[in-house]
Symmetry: C2
Subunit: 106 residues, 2 copies
Amino acid sequence: MRRDVFQAIADPTRRSIIALIALQSMTPNAIAENFDASRQSISKHLRILTECELVRQEQQGREIFYSLKIEKMKEIDAWLEQYRKIWEIRFNQLENVLSTIKKQTK
Amino acid sequence: MRRDVFQAIADPTRRSIIALIALQSMTPNAIAENFDASRQSISKHLRILTECELVRQEQQGREIFYSLKIEKMKEIDAWLEQYRKIWEIRFNQLENVLSTIKKQTK
DNA sequence: AATTTGCGCAACCGAAAAGTTGCATATATA
DNA sequence: TATATATGCAACTTTTCGGTTGCGCAAATT
């Protein structure tokens, strides 16, 4: 089972779950109430999110609270970083081109 | 076919293709040479990347050059932004807690 | 003009993923 | 203690995905 963060966030339901539990931890039932999907289906998504460590479980009596491991999101951020650099360079190049044109028209 | 950026970057081969063409545009054959995968397989990935507008094609004779549409990557960045905010808040809260502890031990 | 080259497209196949159903288990509650 | 509730897990089905094969077409090359 190739489970990585990128695969985890590929599913729109999982992205919604992430958004839902980003601020406060929730039980599977509470989460499922926000979707058309069945409890089991949500449970499976939660398992996938847990397996790739995007989510943490906390047992409390017979309830299990799920919350987002926000640190793991930084992995995506780190991957994006290289491209952020590129688009900044591109932007600067464009700036230069524009200022050159401006000078020429003067 | 539900094709979005998140689904596109879920596949490791596609992420490699993105990295490869980020700086200069390349033909499918040239791209395929960098992988074990067949030309057709790479071509299919390129189609998916094109469909979700992460990649642009430029015909030049019988060759087609593919290049990254870096702007589209910003969509992922925009999605991450909300979580970036959260982890900054968390970090500041931690700072506060630490400084409170520091004061108490004084 | 015939052949080679670069490429896309459609059909097919096997593996993995998503969803459903039916349990089992542990903790509350009556 | 019997029952209801919260949840996970395993088995099964359906869908999706990645890859291969085979074809067609247009641009280069001979």
